[in-house]
């Protein structure tokens, strides 16, 4: 006998709740099976290599005006019954939940992109071969990073009769090459493992590491910057979690003001969960669709789940996540649009000498070409929010910083600490250029990604050098 499908399991749990809690009990269940594998390397050797085959079930019930959630990994008949019983018992002991927004009614789910079966069932040898290619392409530099594949099959069911199911896959590689304490990085996220080229990434990381050799220390202060996509990804993540989060918006903790021109006209941000392989529904069963958060500099929307939408009189945008009552709804597939006509110039000056390799593509080269004096920044690290409302963030540069003078990368710079308000740095008049092509960057969790072109900003506040 084959194992029950995710949809069958979800339906069984919902039915159990109705049987145990009475016909008035409302319930929704999400069942997810996942095959996640990650091959990790350091010192140019695979040192950690893991895989997990898991199943998880998450149940939320609303009974007698009270709400509780439970989850578990035991999907036997006894396990499902225990989950239903303890979640119902918890709900009955909770205080009333006047903000309960109700369940999603039966609706059709959007079509999700097809799943690449080869990636879903990738073998450890295939990940190891990409690591081997990365290491070889680094030409003797020490390397570190990972190659991962993820496959999820998930189903949703609720007591209002709504069901949905879908699958997602993702492949990602993220690695550095190291030379005398200088690191260069390359990372990619794709729907197919076959689109991950370990040799290309290893070569790129090595070129950047060599270009980062012998860095000098610059004094702190305000600098014009060109951020590569990896650095811009950090901006997108923090804008999403702290700014375009419907819960923080309802609590007045967000900077976001829909209708206001809060950003430079060059900035357009779209959350596009089905722009790549992704599940077609959120944690509440609402269909996931593209949502424009910022259009040509004007804030248009924030992300909502059913609860935050009800609070402000809006509709759910399909951004519910597990634990969302505490953390709020999240946009997790954010894309910053590239310049409509491509980069202003594709003739950025090639770098020469020690800094050759710092610039990896024509988009970045074109932006660098316009900088009279500034910094090319590859990546940001350990960014933490000092104040959520103004979204002042501190963090450091990582994996390569270079001084740019008169449109040319002239030399490597030691890492710098910054303290900056992200919305202010992207504010009206602050964006001096965008690359034409967003590059998709993986997050720490599969299914979450940030896509951005390189960006040239008028000013970034570096508040400390490498030595303090």
């Amino acid at each position: 006998m084959s194992a029950p499908t995710e949809l069958e399991l979800a339906g069984q749990v919902v039915e159990l709740v109705r049987r145990l809690g009475g016909p008035a009990a409302q319930a929704e269940a999400v069942v997810t099976r996942a095959d996640l594998a990650l091959t990790r390397f350091a010192n140019s050797a695979i040192h950690q290599n893991v895989a997990e085959s898991t199943v998880g079930i998450r149940l939320r019930v609303h009974v007698d005006g009270r709400t509780a959630a439970g989850s578990g990994s035991v999907v036997t008949a006894d396990g499902l019954r225990a989950l239903a019983e303890r979640t119902l018992a918890a709900a009955r002991l909770c205080p009333p939940d006047p903000g309960w927004p109700g369940l999603v009614p039966p609706t059709s789910a959007p079509l999700a992109p097809p799943v690449d079966e080869a990636t879903a069932h990738a073998e450890p040898d295939q990940r190891a071969d990409r690591v081997r290619a990365f290491v070889a392409a680094a030409g003797g530099l020490s390397t570190a990073g990972y190659c991962r594949t993820a496959h999820r099959s998930s189903a949703y069911a609720n007591s209002a009769g709504h069901t949905a199911h879908g699958r997602s896959v993702e492949a990602a590689m993220d690695g550095i090459a190291r030379q005398a304490g200088a690191d260069g990085v390359a990372r990619r996220c794709a729907d197919r493992l076959s689109d991950i080229d370990g040799a290309e990434l290893g070569g790129q990381a090595a070129a950047k590491a060599r270009a980062a050799a012998d860095p000098v220390e610059l004094p702190p202060g305000r600098y014009e910057v060109v951020f590569e996509p990896a650095a811009v990804a950090d901006l997108l993540q923090n804008l999403s979690w702290y700014g375009f989060n419907g819960k923080r918006y309802a609590e007045r903790q967000s900077f976001a003001e829909p209708g206001a021109a809060q950003f430079d006209r060059a900035v357009t941000l779209v959350d596009d969960p089905l722009g790549a392989s992704g599940l077609p529904f959120d944690a509440e069963g609402t269909g996931r669709r593209a949502l424009t958060l910022v259009e040509a500099g004007t804030t248009r929307a924030v992300a909502h789940d059913r609860r935050t939408a009800a609070e402000v009189g809006a509709e759910s945008t399909g951004h519910a996540v597990a634990g969302g009552a505490t953390w709020g709804p999240m946009a997790r597939n954010l894309r910053m649009s590239g310049a409509a006509a491509g980069p202003a110039s594709a003739t950025g000056r090639s770098t020469t000498g020690a800094a050759a390799g710092a610039v990896v593509d024509a988009d970045t080269a074109a932006l660098v070409a316009g900088v009279r004096r500034g910094l090319l920044v590859t990546d940001l690290w350990y960014t933490r929010v000092l104040d959520p409302k103004s979204l002042v963030v501190t963090g450091l540069t990582r994996n390569g910083v270079w001084l740019v003078e008169d449109g040319t990368v002239v030399r490597a710079v030691r890492d710098l600490r910054f303290t900056e308000s992200y919305p202010r740095a992207l504010g009206p008049g602050a964006v001096l250029g965008l690359g034409g092509r967003p590059v998709r960057q993986p997050d720490r969790v599969d299914g979450v990604w940030w896509a951005a072109p390189p960006v040239r900003l008028a000013s970034w506040h570096f508040t400390g050098g490498a030595s303090g």
Partner: protein
């Protein structure tokens, strides 16, 4: 089939598939959390997870596989898959792998617990958070939030060397926070720290925090901070409260002495360390007041256990003695690679995660002073407490921390409150400037230490007390 049977089957299958060493962990974890906001329960979550993770060493290469199924067939399949993954690892081989010896024991261990936290009625726990958040809201907080979390973990460890260890570790804790929202910024005050204090204890820890008694004061302070003067910028003497010093230890000592970072195993993600093994035993890390221990034997501290997840018994060790760096956090393979003779600091965040080097309880031994004495001895400075933000570079050198609140110190007295206090520095220079240390030590618990790929969340403890640091740069702003 018992949990030990499943783990044994997985280990045997890995050996049969070519592994020269294998170990397996079965873990059964129950988790419960509740959050409250402005006098209402916001979310109640209960989770129960059980599964098995098996690790296989084939030649010089590791593999790991995890499944949520404890049947004999599933356990054996997991063991075989772990060995197969290890074989794939050998396509990009590293240096030979050895394991420092650990006596194979059969043992049981449980953390102390007076009041079973999962046995406390939900209504009582809800009343606690609802009452405290209601009080904060009544005293001016725009956002009054409360939280508790409980973990009850049973685990069974088997190795091919003969280990057979079961442990039960109960952890819990909680806290409250009041946020006041101004025109352009927010201000927060928490008790006893943001997202709470935690330990390997029962519900008695939460009761001892007396959340309700502190609710009104922190709400009023969060409101007052909106109009308090900003922390001035410049260099000054800095007094840190114990909670903030615990995080300072965590970030600028605990992570820096992780041997996997020192060996470069975390280079691409968590980062490396500024420490060089060639200087172990001789490097001056801080002032002579700085005595840091690695001690998983502290009763009730969050990083305590009987055995780590490689079967090494809990042992207290020195990390920094009289200001000199003398010890690391290690596992059996990393220690062997570094020619050290001890591991003991390897843990896994659940059955589906690979065991890796993690902090246990890394903290300061008590000093000779009191906070009052430190303040009285300070002519001009700032006292900061309760962490609000933390950032440090990938070598664990350059840090910048923000605190919820500062107080001006003038002529030995605590003066007015300061908002948005921040300080920044370089780890060893900062620690060398510590010239006064209190003996009012608290084993602060940090339940959210992120590390590893896939990500793991570690639970660590950090005994710490207030201390003074000289000539520190404060008041960094955007």
């Amino acid at each position: 089939m018992t949990e030990f049977d499943a783990a044994t089957a997985a280990v045997q299958a890995a050996l049969d598939a070519g592994a020269r060493y294998a170990d397996a962990r079965v873990m059964h974890r129950r988790y419960e959390s509740m959050t409250a906001r402005n006098g209402d329960v916001e979310e109640l979550t209960q989770d129960e997870s059980i599964g098995l993770g098996v690790r296989a060493l084939v030649g010089a290469s590791w593999g790991f596989h995890a499944v949520p199924d404890l049947s004999d067939a599933a356990a054996r399949d997991a063991g075989r898959r772990a060995a197969r993954i290890a074989t794939a690892s050998a396509r990009v081989p590293g240096p030979p792998v050895d394991l420092v010896p650990v006596e194979a024991v059969t043992a049981s261990w449980s953390s102390g617990c007076q009041i079973d936290p999962l046995g406390v009625p939900l209504s009582d726990k809800g009343d606690l958070l609802v009452g405290a958040t209601r009080t904060m809201a009544e005293h001016g907080a725009d956002l009054a939030e409360g939280l508790y979390q409980i973990w009850d973990t049973a685990k069974w460890f088997v190795s091919s060397e003969g280990h057979r260890i079961d442990q039960r570790i109960r952890e819990c804790g909680g806290g409250i926070s009041a946020t006041s929202i101004g025109d352009g910024e927010t201000q927060r005050r928490s008790w006893p720290s943001y997202r709470g204090q935690y330990g390997t204890t029962g519900w008695e820890l939460v009761e001892s925090l007396d959340l309700a008694a502190h609710a009104a004061q922190i709400a009023e302070e969060s409101r007052a901070l909106l109009t308090a003067p900003p922390c001035p910028a410049g260099e000054t003497d800095l007094i840190l409260g114990g909670e903030q010093l615990a995080l300072q230890i965590h970030e600028s000592v605990g992570h820096a002495i992780e041997l996997d970072r020192i060996l470069g195993w975390e280079a691409a993600f968590a980062g490396t360390s500024w420490l060089d093994l060639a200087q172990l035993g001789s490097l001056r890390y801080g002032s002579e007041l700085m005595n840091i221990t690695i001690d998983p034997t502290i009763p009730g501290a969050l990083g305590s256990f009987g055995f780590d997840d490689e079967g090494s018994p809990a042992v207290k060790r020195d990390a920094v003695r009289d200001g000199r760096w003398v010890g690391v956090l290690a596992g059996r393979d990393s220690a062997a690679m570094a020619s050290l003779d001890y591991g003991g600091s390897v843990r896994a965040d659940g059955w589906a995660r690979l065991p890796m080097v993690r902090m246990t309880n890394v903290g300061l031994e008590p000093g000779p002073h009191t906070l009052d004495e430190i303040i009285a001895a300070t002519d001009d400075g700032v006292l900061m407490d309760l962490n609000r933000s933390w950032s440090i570079d990938d070598k664990r050198l350059n840090f910048q921390f923000g605190c919820e609140v500062g107080w001006e110190i003038k002529k030995g007295r605590r003066g007015r409150m300061l908002r948005n206090p921040t300080y920044t520095g370089i780890g060893p220079l900062f620690w060398r400037s510590m010239d006064m240390l209190s003996g009012e030590t608290v084993p602060w618990g940090t339940p959210n230490c992120g590390k590893g790929q896939p990500g793991q969340t570690g639970h660590t403890g950090h005994p710490a007390a207030p201390a003074r640091f000289r000539n520190v740069r404060v008041g960094v702003s955007a």
